[in-house]
């Protein structure tokens, strides 16, 4: 609310000889809350450092979210296929093994294209992938009987919650600085862990050990390794990005359509909403942006490293 003391509380006519100054330590004939009418809120600034988004760059940034949602749908479609025995577990196993080899190759090419990177540690990567492979193979029988006593409904609810957590917390940032290649930080550890444990829980509903093993292995590829690779594509070009997004959505739609055409339609709607409608809404909503800044704000120290 605007204080209207300027009109009411003027018992003393301002002496033209005494210039009003915005200091309280000096005696002057004005009341304490006096302010000249022309200088009221003159220091107010609206949206001072605001750069409006434009539509197409936003669409490309939203591709990261679309890719993530697409991988979740691909995983769910594969799971339903394995459960209804329309997908062969051995085929899935070979597909995921070859995908990982291919992905590692691409990763290494991208890695070596940058001269500042250290040479990749192949033996370590091989050792840890072998370790995960063998440990999953050993744990598969245990995982299969893990939730035998729990009803399926609670499993669906649990995995839905975990996938939601995974999608919300995932690393959707797409400003990949080229210098930060060397230390690939797992910033959103919780997201990946939620996806893995959700897929473990889902895998425990499958009928035989081999499908449990191949599904968990596929989940490891999809939710732990693929995001790392996907993140690197940002440094290449937006065309690659669009291609990856298109292929992921196409694969998920192809996998889902034989299961249920209604769900496929819904997924198409979700993809379009995330990729095209949501950026448009954001661009439209920018007209309501009203950020008020002024000398009353807390001062922000300017450091040199900016």
């Amino acid at each position: 609310m605007i204080p209207d003391s300027t009109t009411e509380s003027l018992p003393v006519q301002p002496d033209t000889a005494v210039q009003w100054r915005k200091v309280l330590w000096e005696r002057c004939p004005y009341p304490d809350n006096f302010i000249p009418p022309d200088s009221f809120l003159s220091a107010l600034r609206r949206n001072p450092n605001f750069t409006p988004y434009s539509y197409w760059p936003l669409v490309f940034m939203c591709c990261a979210i679309t890719q993530h949602v697409g991988t979740v749908f691909v995983f769910l479609a594969i799971f339903v296929g394995l459960k209804e025995r329309s997908v062969d577990a051995r085929v899935l196993l070979w597909v995921s093994v070859s995908c990982s080899v291919l992905g590692y190759g691409i990763w290494e090419i991208l890695h070596s294209s940058h001269p500042s990177n250290m040479p990749p540690n192949r033996s370590k990567a091989f050792k840890s992938s072998l370790l995960v492979f063998l440990a999953l193979m050993g744990l598969a029988p245990v995982l299969r009987t893990l939730t035998a006593a729990t009803s399926s409904d609670s499993i669906w609810a649990l995995s839905a919650c975990l996938f939601l957590l995974n999608t919300v917390l995932a690393d959707h940032s797409c400003s990949m600085r080229p210098g930060s290649f060397t230390q690939e930080r797992l910033t959103f550890v919780l997201s990946m862990n939620a996806a893995i444990s959700s897929s473990v829980v889902l895998a425990s509903r499958l009928p035989d050990d081999l499908s449990v093993f191949s599904l968990v292995l596929f989940a490891v590829q999809l939710f732990a390794l693929f995001p790392l690779l996907r993140h690197r594509f940002w440094s290449i070009s937006t065309a690659v990005q669009a291609l990856v997004t298109l292929s992921i959505t196409a694969v998920s739609l192809v996998l889902v359509t034989p299961l249920s055409s209604a769900i496929a339609t819904m997924m198409t709607g979700i993809y379009i909403a995330i990729t095209f409608i949501a950026p448009g809404v954001l661009v439209w909503a920018q007209q309501y942006k009203n950020e008020i800044r002024g000398p009353w704000d807390v001062a922000i120290p300017r450091l040199n490293w900016i």
Binding site: S128, S129, L131, V132, A135, L136, L139, V142, L143, T145, L146, T147, A148, A149, T150, R185, L186, V189, L190, M192, N193, I196, S197, V200, V201, S204, V216, V220, A224, L225, L228
Partner: protein
């Protein structure tokens, strides 16, 4: 007491009267308590001898059904998806079969032991001649021998429970991308490798789903152990109180309280010639007579405190009985 008797011989007439009074009180209190113990023991022996047949029959019938059959039935009940508990079928079967096998082994041993029952009852009766406390101690030992299988089951299940709890705690840290820093005694963020994360997450999911099964079996044996501990605690409290009852001091105090002085005061009597001052003594207050009891009770209460027992129960530590380091130094007044 032997020490006191030997000291009595070297008693010198010019010794300090307070010290000799303490020695006197101690000596006679020991004799009184022992005699009383013997008398109660004799009476108890009489009771045992008169009802020997009935008692033997009760023990022979009840022992196996309470200590083995009931527990085995409980384990079988837990194995058959009871009360909507989401137990892991395979782990639950492993647990219940293992424990049933262990209890069956013990039952075989018990059958050998039951053939010795007349001899055991004879030993208990004879031990009653040495005093009631002897009988109590013997029955405490018998309880701990007879419930050895339950103790073993509790030990196994609590060990597993404790380790799984520890595992879940550290894997939960890994799940959140943190690690316990032992040098600074806090949890710090930590960058794990991808394979560590994957294996840790899968193991965490596994442990979290198997935990209810482990918890249920642990709870069963912890409750059984708790029941035995309560029995033990009451017997031990009784034993400790019988061993240290200040009978002689109480008797002296009721007979002539001047013989058990607490402290002295000057009594001033006004007479016609002026006044006479006499030294009188306060009798020793009851709080001092029973001071040792209070300390003993405090130690027992601290050991068997419900909150302490509950905490140990939750942490999966083995519930132990009162430490057998004898119940304190002899009483002195």
């Amino acid at each position: 007491m032997l020490y006191q008797i030997t000291q009595w011989r070297y008693h010198q007439p010019d010794e300090h009267v307070a010290l000799s009074s303490i020695a006197y009180n101690r000596h006679y209190n020991s004799i009184w308590v022992i005699l009383n113990d013997l008398i109660i023991g004799l009476a108890f022996r009489q009771f045992l001898c008169q009802n020997r047949g009935v008692l033997n029959a009760i023990v022979a019938d009840g022992l196996e059904s309470t200590l083995a059959v009931r527990i085995q039935r409980m384990l079988l009940w837990l194995d058959s998806w009871p009360a909507g508990l989401k137990l892991n079928t395979e782990l639950s079967r492993f647990y219940s079969h293992g424990f049933i096998g262990l209890i069956t082994r013990w039952t075989k041993l018990l059958h050998h032991g039951l053939s010795l029952l007349p001899a055991i009852s004879f030993v208990v009766e004879t031990a009653s001649l040495l005093g009631m406390t002897m009988t109590l101690s013997l029955s405490l030992d018998l309880i701990s021998v007879l419930t050895a299988h339950l103790h073993a089951c509790h030990f196994i299940s609590s060990t597993i429970y404790r380790h799984v709890l520890l595992l879940i705690g550290s894997l939960w840290n890994l799940f959140r991308g943190k690690r316990y820093n032992i040098l600074r005694n806090r949890t710090d963020p930590w960058d794990y490798d991808v394979d560590q994360m994957l294996l840790g997450t899968i193991l965490f999911t596994l442990a979290a789903h198997l935990f209810p099964t482990i918890l249920v079996y642990y709870t069963l044996f912890a409750l059984v152990r708790l029941g035995i501990i309560v029995l033990y605690a009451s017997c031990e409290t009784l034993l400790a109180f019988m061993n240290h009852f200040p009978l002689f001091a109480l008797m002296l105090r009721s007979k002539d309280h001047q013989r058990l002085p607490g402290d002295t005061y000057l009594q001033v009597n006004h007479t016609a010639l002026g006044c006479t001052v006499t030294v009188e003594s306060h009798p020793l207050p009851y709080a001092v007579v029973f001071a040792q009891y209070a300390g003993l009770w405090r130690r027992l209460a601290r050991h068997y405190h419900p909150i302490r027992l509950g905490k140990r129960l939750l942490q999966g530590q083995v519930l132990d009985t009162f430490p057998r380091a004898s119940t304190g130094p002899p009483l002195d007044y």
